[in-house]
Point group: C2
Chain length 282, copies 2
């Protein structure tokens, strides 16, 4: 079985590692627009061989793990070129636009829209991790539009990798993910910005920032190249979440200004309920 | 040597564990306003014996690890009562007000104002951790106002616990800590609130929230009883940081609304510089 991974970053690379491990007879073909990353992926054994996009017909499984704007461009063309029995899986963080673009594609049944909820703030082939997807959620959208046999094939792979499957429609996916992922990234980027602007004297940050700060700004290390197109595609939902977040912050600030500390206590007490939610994630 | 720890939560409890370990001849006396916590601290061996506040004269070292509003009330009285050669150390997250309150206290030289930058989002004696302070920064304020011999005594303890010492004036401490700690907590509490408000159907949060969300809302689990008085004491600085944070978020939202994605890319690229800062913290 030839598996062709297009985009050998954190997600593509981690999928390549795990597929190699669980499907020992699979040949991992790889492509990355960044020649240096492609070389790195070959040298570190993420893939068995470099390939070019016009070899895509040789693969039984094609995984597209590129920024979501690039996806929209290349997936329709790739679908045109793949074998009639092949399966193309995308793993992008937004699902509405890709599903829309492919709606009437003659090979729509060869495509499966997924979003594995896994990752770190790092990027590139060196960021790839073995076992990254174990016990992680993988959201599948519009499963009914994929050929039954190819659904089965995908689920067999996801199951071997330890993924937990959830089905969702693309609109709901994008609306919800704006809250639990995209907003977190923006809050973190802007927190990083706020502190960097203030603390011109870096030494003071080094000295006073503890694990709490580190935890809240971790995502500010994320790749702008990956996140800009995600924000673009999920613009409407993200603006809504940002509005609500800003309102809550303004409200908190007003309570501070009016010295309404019993109210502030209550606000925090209510937010504490996130404990139960987080315990559920574990 | 009798060491009296007042407030047996995460910080007080962790200090008790480490002092026991490094000073085997020390007798750990403990008090907590919460009778249940006091019992727990004794049973789990954080302290050797329960004590009441009017036994404070028996101790050579007194560590006060209570919410910062309670500190302001009890530290002046405790100082009145301690032995002339004893050292009282506070470990609160705000330093300006306690230093101000004690400015003209006849036993000011028996007091050392510190802020160990260590902790987790948990609280109470069960949250106490061995080695919590190892390689962590401990900020000392107005060191020159503490008797030389007592400074030495404190530094000997901090050094055994692996702490790295930084000296700062209380005003600068409170201004800086607003950025790298207090703001992180508010951003996290309000992020938790925003998502909780939206996602009435909890199941969806469980399913879609990954490690990124978890990292940014971790601090929303923190104790409101501990944090409300910190926010109260550091009100002016916190309002300033909140204003800047909200402005940055509003600016980001405006860029989204105007579809200025190259600008958004640039914003994130600049915030990426936090990577170097965080590498410095490690």
């Amino acid at each position: 079985m030839n598996v062709f991974v297009i985009g050998l970053g954190l997600i593509g690379g981690s999928l390549a590692i795990d597929i190699q491990q669980h499907f020992t007879s699979a040949t991992l073909m790889g492509f990355d627009a960044n020649e240096h990353h492609l070389k790195e992926a070959l040298e570190t054994g993420l893939i068995h061989q470099k390939a070019s996009l016009d070899e895509v017909h040789k693969a039984a499984i094609i995984i597209v793990a590129v920024p979501v704007d690039v996806q929209l461009e290349i997936i329709p063309q790739l679908l045109d070129a793949i074998d009639d029995d092949a399966l193309l899986i995308d793993v992008g963080s937004t699902k509405e636009q890709i599903c829309k673009v492919l709606k009437n594609h003659p090979k729509r049944r060869n495509f499966l829209a997924t979003h594995p909820i896994a990752g770190t703030e790092f990027s590139g082939p060196n960021a790839a991790l073995k076992g990254l997807f174990n016990e992680k959620i993988n959201i599948i959208c519009e499963v009914e539009k994929t050929a039954f046999k190819l659904q089965e094939k995908a689920l067999a792979i996801f199951s071997k990798l330890g993924m937990v499957i959830r089905y969702m429609d693309p609109k709901a996916h994008d609306r919800h993910i704006a809250y639990v992922s995209h907003l977190s990234h923006i809050s973190s980027f802007m927190l990083g910005k706020t502190v960097l602007e203030k603390e011109k004297n870096e030494r003071d940050i080094f000295d006073m920032a503890g694990s709490g700060f580190e935890s809240t700004v971790r995502l500010a290390k994320s790749s702008p190249a990956m996140w800009t197109p995600i924000f673009e595609q999920n613009k409407t939902n993200i603006i809504e979440t940002l509005e609500e977040y800003i309102l809550n912050l303004q409200n908190f600030k007003a309570l501070m200004e009016e010295s309404k500390f019993p109210e502030i206590f209550k606000e925090m007490k209510q937010a504490n309920y996130i404990k139960q939610i987080l315990n559920g994630i574990k």
